[in-house]
Symmetry: C2
Subunit: 257 residues, 2 copies
DNA sequence: CGCGTTTTTGAACGCCGTCAAATAATGTGG
DNA sequence: CCACATTATTTGACGGCGTTCAAAAACGCG
């Protein structure tokens, strides 16, 4: 089905099919997320097999990679940027069911039709694979399949915890919990050495997107943030930055009605 | 904090490993769910390997197999009965994050601590496996691992759709959708030949359990059911039976605020 | 029949959504 | 760099949906 591309071509950009594949292969060498993505489980030779399928693709903020309801044609690895996975009702109500960060796997393997839309919240880069060939690679590479299983299990756990939040927690619990989650992610992205002190970070989401994640409205999110500010638990230095000035209190509020 | 679980003492446990394994192995031969459970992917020889680990276990209605927060020691296949998977807040609010039916896989592989409690809603039977050895079997049997991956992906999809429901749908949409879901399950369990006509079935859940699934209260569920009855979409013949007398209208109500 | 449990029904409250408007932030072309 | 347009956020007023609290009715089981 796919030509084996184990040989190198001197000038990468001369010809199309081959050139793209090789370009991707080269990029893997200094891929920012390779160690954290699914392909981290592959050795160089296996990587070639995957690369012969994949194409690197840039996407602008606001662009939608996959539309719910369409044929489910592709999977991907997210290289940079942030994306959202959205479920929606027929009359347009929306819920973000997952945020995707660099090294995350994107898409729904073994699904004929896409159930959710996937849209870029920032400019983003991905390695995109056609779904069916990707599934075949998956089945030929146990370690990758295993890694996907473990990630999927982890994602499922998170989804279930989110159900508890969406169904049973108050607006102030949701917002407080969300800020703590985002702080953890920001910290691990920035790899700050000091886990102490007032942590300032940028939550690159609009109020509307936060609302979509938390199952609230823009107004409620905004009101809760000002409440937290007035209570002295956080500061809002402007833009989309957040300073957590009293994490203990924030953690308490994250699990008290 | 909770009753000890793995101390079931019976005549069989006098002669350990072998007797149990053979007993289980024998039972597999006429296992009601074998073709639908994960072990359906194993041949007889492989089944032996799994069986040497497993123990068949009966559980009474209301008993809890796994407690959230405990060490995550076991996985299982559900043979008969219905169980619930519950997430809860520190102050006791609960949400059912999954219902488990015969042939479903039970537990959280690759997790050190159980995140959710798993409790029997009816008397139930399971094949219980210690988690770590089970994981090893999983890794030695690609087909089973693949099957688990595919199931997990499917479950994740369902979880994400549930997020939409919990976050954005009205009480009447939730109840209508729930009845339709249960009807599908009841129909597939009973394998009715006629997909037409007024379908009567038993939703073996109490109002409280329905409320726990839908993220509502008992009162709200009850009120919505009477509304549906008064609107002529369903009948409540008593007990926990439901008759769907106008499925089209019910489907419309399931996705209209 | 009598008792405990589940379900239904009623009444009042409160959280959050909706609608509306003011203010702040961001971007754009001149 | 500013003036202006656009978008995002904050703030306010109000109402509705679902919860909470309470009690009656129906059911199940000895």
């Amino acid at each position: 089905m796919q030509p084996a591309l184990n040989h190198r071509i001197g000038d990468k950009s001369l010809r199309r099919g081959y050139a793209d594949a090789m370009a991707l292969s080269d990029i893997c060498a200094d891929c920012a997320v390779r160690d954290h993505a699914l392909c981290g489980s592959l050795d160089d030779r296996e990587l070639d097999a995957l690369n012969s399928l994949g194409q690197k693709r840039r996407i602008a903020r606001g662009e939608t990679l996959i539309w719910a309801g369409d044929d489910n044609l592709i999977c991907a690895n997210l290289l940079s940027g942030v994306m959202k996975m959205v479920a929606s009702t027929s009359d347009g109500r929306e819920q973000i069911v997952g945020l995707l960060y660099p090294a995350d796997f994107v898409g729904q393997p073994y699904r004929e039709e896409a159930d959710f839309s996937i849209t870029a919240l920032t400019d983003a880069e991905l390695c995109v694979f056609p779904r069916l060939p990707f599934q075949r690679v998956l089945e030929d590479h146990v370690r990758m399949e295993r890694l996907l299983l473990q990630r999927t299990l982890q994602t499922l756990n998170e989804a279930r915890n989110r159900m508890l939040t969406l169904a049973r927690k108050s607006a102030s619990e949701r917002v407080a919990g969300f800020l703590l989650d985002m702080e953890v992610r920001a910290a691990s992205a920035g790899c700050r050495a000091t886990p102490t002190g007032p942590a300032t970070f940028d939550l690159s989401l609009t109020r509307g997107q936060i609302a979509d994640v938390l199952g609230l409205t823009i107004e409620t999110v905004s009101r809760q943030l000002t409440k937290l500010k007035e209570a002295g638990l956080i500061r809002l230095p402007g833009g989309r930055a957040i300073t957590i000035s009293n994490r203990d209190a924030l953690e308490r509020r994250a699990e008290a009605a």
